[in-house]
């Protein structure tokens, strides 16, 4: 044990991406080095810009240490946006490789390609899908149920920083060392020490562990919030649908994420402590990992899909100016999906050799999920029926979702049929199927929700022009990128192939490549939309807070909302509370009596716990034991110290609340109520004209 070994563990010169590129200046090496340069360069530019703008103090006091659910929600979305950009670029690189590498090596080496599909999947599930939805739920759910914050604001901050920590590990793996090559599901024994001795699988284990710990805490947090912090009168059957889906997702997170944490930790025990849970020899059995993983993995799919279903329910109802059709049906369907999602995990491995009756059972269970899902889609269609539909960006994404998602549903039922699954499992058909579910199902929903709630969060609307452009890119890009994959999958092309051998595949890979570029353009449109919208914000402000003539409580305060959300906690007497208040002229009335409001003080404990554990896990990856110990000590020490702190609340005096409320009411009184025809014009100040 030399000094350097103790200090740096397994870390050596050649672990650095730039050194590797220097020694191996192939195209693949240069792409890897370039990616590392972008990661380092991006970080340096951001840090320099923050210093130049003297924004550090602002960032620290207003954002990083904030326990406000709204700000935490926004930070989740920002993190997800950064990660989405990386993972989508990786997808384009992979498609480019497949378009080029027909009977030749292409641009990336096999191990590099494997890293790309592993990081792409890991990021998209754990660091794009989850943070996007957790961010949206964080922002919206407390506002919808009339709460001032989530039940455990400090735990919320820890969850955020654990997720960011996982993201930092993934970014670090670009520069230092290499990521796993075992796919996002990380099946052993391939990821065992016997086959992969490097740091890759360790990066995967520990970054996923950080994310899963954060997700578990978020689940507990949101579920308790919905159980305990609903405004008086907000009974179960008066909850907005998005809150229902948040609750179901939270329950899924509480029950489904621990099997993943256990599976990755057992794999870590194999790799670090010489145990044999999943090894080939000495009694290990990898089938246990596969079962544990999908016991998490399948409910995870519904963790990702239920909140967007909630978004569609809100968006379609609001932009059709109509009550949601079949509320009770939708609630039952949501709950049914949540419960059924635990009964289907085996369909991820029909091919593992179990008996036909077992496969048939899980096949039927899988098809059953199609029933409540179909019900939901029809409920949205009937919501538009007899409505006044505004075909704006959010609605385009919603309708695009309905049309596209059912195609994924069709391939899903096909895959649920074991005899057919034997043929298309592990092929590009499967890849096409789950992208067909997740892109329209999850991403379109998030974009629709982002468009819908953005004016609430920031006080101005998003650009419609760029929103439409984004829609066309995403919608047609999806079809071009993934329909060829269905075809190639039917032709028996295995997933994760970095080289193909049949020239007949070329047209299909080229179409898919074009589609991938269109999807990247779609993402660029989303960013341009944000930039353009900020620049044009003076003509799109909606300070009164109800730009869409919507129905839930989240529209009943100014935009952006005050940090305490509600000047007085609302009384709820029926579903769509704000709609009925508007109808009976109760929407913009001062309260009889304002009270002092208690809010959590800012705290740096969340960031310390999160970054402490990240340092600890980073130490584990590189066998830098002092860092692991130090990081863990910081995290544990902070958690214990914080539990002794008593002065963690601050009071906002009633006068201040009253003054703010009065200013907003004056603003509302001065605003001109507009009809839905003028929704997208500068006339829209966020006050809706009653239209019966």
């Amino acid at each position: 044990m030399t000094f350097w070994h103790i200090l740096l563990g397994r870390l050596t010169w050649t672990s650095i991406a730039f050194v590797r590129t220097w020694r191996d200046p192939t195209i693949s090496g240069i792409i890897g080095g370039g990616a590392a340069a972008v990661a380092v360069g991006g970080a340096v530019v951001v840090l320099a810009l923050l210093t130049y703008l003297r924004a550090w103090r602002y960032l620290w006091t207003e954002w990083m240490t904030s326990l406000d659910h709204k700000k935490i929600g926004i930070m989740y979305m920002v993190v997800a946006g950064v990660m989405l950009t990386r993972a989508l670029i990786e997808a384009v690189v992979m498609r480019t490789q497949q378009a080029i590498a027909i009977n030749n090596q292409g641009i990336v080496a096999p191990a590099h390609f494997a890293e790309l599909f592993t990081t792409h999947g890991t990021i998209m599930i754990f660091f794009v899908g989850m943070p996007l939805l957790i961010g949206l739920m964080n922002y919206v759910m407390p506002l919808q149920i009339g709460a001032r914050d989530v039940a455990f604001p400090y735990m919320n901050s820890i969850s955020l920083w654990l997720t960011i920590g996982g993201g930092i590990m993934l970014m670090a793996s670009l520069v230092i060392g290499k990521f796993s090559t075992g796919g996002w599901s990380g099946y052993p024994p391939y990821t065992e020490l016997a086959f992969n001795g490097g740091v890759g699988p360790d990066y995967w284990i520990w970054s996923v562990s950080l994310s899963s710990l954060g997700a578990l805490m978020t689940g507990i947090n949101f579920a308790v919030t919905v159980y305990k912090l609903r405004a008086p009168g907000m009974t179960w059957m008066r909850l907005p649908l998005f809150t229902w889906t948040t609750l179901c997702t939270s329950i899924l997170m509480i029950f489904a994420v621990p099997p993943l944490t256990i599976a990755t930790l057992l794999l870590a025990a194999d790799r670090y402590l010489g145990m044999h849970f999943f090894t080939n020899d000495l009694g290990g059995n990898m089938m246990n990992f596969v079962n544990l993983f999908w016991l998490f993995g399948h409910p995870e799919v519904y963790i990702l899909i239920l909140p967007p279903f909630g978004v569609y329910s809100e968006v379609v109802s609001a932009y059709s100016s109509k009550e949601l059709y079949g509320y009770t049906s939708l609630v039952i369907a949501t709950m049914a999906i949540a419960i059924l999602s635990f009964t289907v995990w085996l369909h991820h491995f029909f091919t593992m050799g179990q008996s036909a009756p077992i496969n048939a059972f899980f096949g039927i269970a899988t098809m059953l999920i199609g029933i409540p899902t179909g019900v939901k889609i029809y409920d949205w269609i009937w919501t538009m029926f007899w409505g006044e539909v505004r075909l704006n960006t959010a609605m385009l994404f919603s309708i695009g979702f309905m049309v596209t998602f059912v195609i994924g549903g069709m391939s899903g039922i096909i895959l649920a049929t074991p005899p057919v699954d034997y043929m298309v499992h592990n092929t590009l058909f499967l890849i096409a199927h789950f992208h067909n579910m997740l892109i329209p199902g999850m991403l379109f929903g998030v974009i629709a929700g982002y468009y819908y709630w953005f004016p609430k969060a920031f006080g101005f609307r998003l650009s419609e022009t760029w929103g439409r452009r984004a829609f066309y890119c995403w919608f047609f890009g999806f079809y071009l990128a993934f329909m060829p994959l269905y075809v190639m999958g039917l032709g028996g092309v295995a997933r994760r192939s970095q080289e193909l051998f049949d020239p007949a595949l070329r047209p299909w890979t080229l179409i898919a490549e074009f589609g991938a570029l269109l999807l990247l353009t779609g993402l660029a449109c989303i960013f341009i939309q944000l930039y353009v919208s900020i620049r044009e914000r003076h003509s799109t402000r909606v300070p009164v807070g109800d730009p869409w003539d919507a129905r839930g409580l989240e529209w009943s305060m100014s935009a952006p909302p005050p940090e305490y959300n509600f000047a007085t906690i609302p009384q709820v007497s029926r579903r769509d509370a704000f709609y009925w208040r508007k109808k009976y002229d109760g929407a913009y009335q001062p309260a009889d009596h304002y009270r002092d409001i208690e809010l959590p003080k800012n705290s740096m404990c969340g960031i310390l716990v999160g970054m402490g554990l990240t340092a600890c896990f980073f130490g584990f990856v590189w066998h830098i034991w002092w860092l692991a110990f130090l990081g863990f000590a910081i995290a544990l020490g902070t958690a214990i110290t914080r539990s002794f702190m008593r002065d963690v609340k601050r009071i906002i005096p009633a006068e201040e609340v009253a003054a703010h409320d009065r200013r907003w009411l004056d603003r509302a009184a001065a605003a001109r109520p507009i009809s839905r025809h003028l929704e997208l014009t500068p006339e829209n100040e966020g006050l809706a004209k009653w239209q019966g």
Partner: protein, 290 residues
């Protein structure tokens, strides 16, 4: 729409010949039945999703804000008839599909022997990094990356892995079943017509993954007997030592054959009683760290 467009575009370029690589161009009864099942479920599902694809854009367009002629009933949100329509028919369709699913899953169980007048030919399959080893235990021969079998006679395969988990897929014949170390799985195939087909590993297992493809040749019984007799002349023997060296990570430029096979070697492989060649390779890789 787009799909149709893509298909037309691609057809004009190279034909939908890609589909002839897979089970939509079946070369045996299993793949044939699976293709039938695919079209059957697909057709039923088209009926189910068709209305959504039509109704969603149509209703949205008809009830658009600009259309002042369409009715507007903002407080309408429930109808028993519609509830019945959206819950009951899908449930009936799932029950209908479920009945077929149980039947077909039973019939097409990879473990189920294929009925035939001829006795099945035994082939033991071992997946290795990055090649496939086929042992013919009754004929005492073996081949690597080349599966030659008589047409029109059922083949009973027993699979295991000498390395990580892999998945055997022969797209025009049958598939897919996992090969896992220390365990044995089964797959039955039958080639209807003599011809050349292909097989692959569909589960990623490292750098040589894409090269882990093999030729499947269905030949006439006479040709098969001739091939067996010829192969038995090959001087090489598949014994423990040869297996150890074969199990090193490598990509083979061309198939290998063994004229003799140590009796019971497959069982030894399943029970992991033969030292593996990759172990030494991995020890070396591990000490390199990264």
């Amino acid at each position: 729409m787009t799909t149709v467009f893509i298909c037309i575009a691609a057809t004009s370029l190279s034909g939908c010949s890609v589909l002839r690589r897979g089970f939509l161009a079946p070369a045996g009864p299993i793949a044939h039945a699976e293709r039938h099942e695919f079209f059957f479920v697909g057709a039923v599902m088209l009926v189910v999703i068709g209305p959504v694809i039509l109704l969603a854009p149509l209703i949205a367009w008809h009830y658009r804000l600009a259309n002042t002629k369409s009715a507007f009933r903002p407080q309408w949100g429930f109808s028993w008839i519609l509830e019945g329509l959206i819950w009951v028919p899908p449930t009936l369709i799932v029950i209908f599909l479920a009945v077929f699913l149980v039947q077909r899953t039973e019939q097409l169980d990879p473990y189920r022997p294929i009925p035939s007048k001829l006795p099945p030919l035994q082939v033991d399959v071992v997946s290795l990094d990055w090649k496939w080893l086929f042992i013919y235990p009754t004929l005492h021969i073996a081949s690597v990356n080349q599966l030659i079998v008589p047409a029109d006679r059922p083949i009973q395969m027993h699979l295991t892995s000498g390395t990580v988990m892999q998945s055997l897929l022969m797209p025009r014949l049958a598939g897919q079943i996992y090969a896992m170390a220390g365990m044995e799985t089964q797959l039955h195939i039958l080639i209807s017509k003599p011809g050349n087909y292909w097989g692959e590993n569909a589960q990623y297992d490292g750098d040589g993954f894409v090269h882990q493809k093999f030729q499947v040749m269905g030949i006439t019984p006479q040709d098969f007997d001739r091939w067996v007799a010829h192969t038995q002349q090959t001087p090489k023997t598949l014994d423990s030592e040869a297996y150890t060296s074969l199990s090193r990570q490598s990509i083979l430029p061309q198939p290998i054959t063994f004229g003799n096979v140590e009796p019971g070697i497959f069982s030894k492989i399943v029970h992991q009683m033969i030292p593996l060649g990759y172990a030494a390779q991995h020890e070396k890789a591990k000490s390199n760290g990264g």
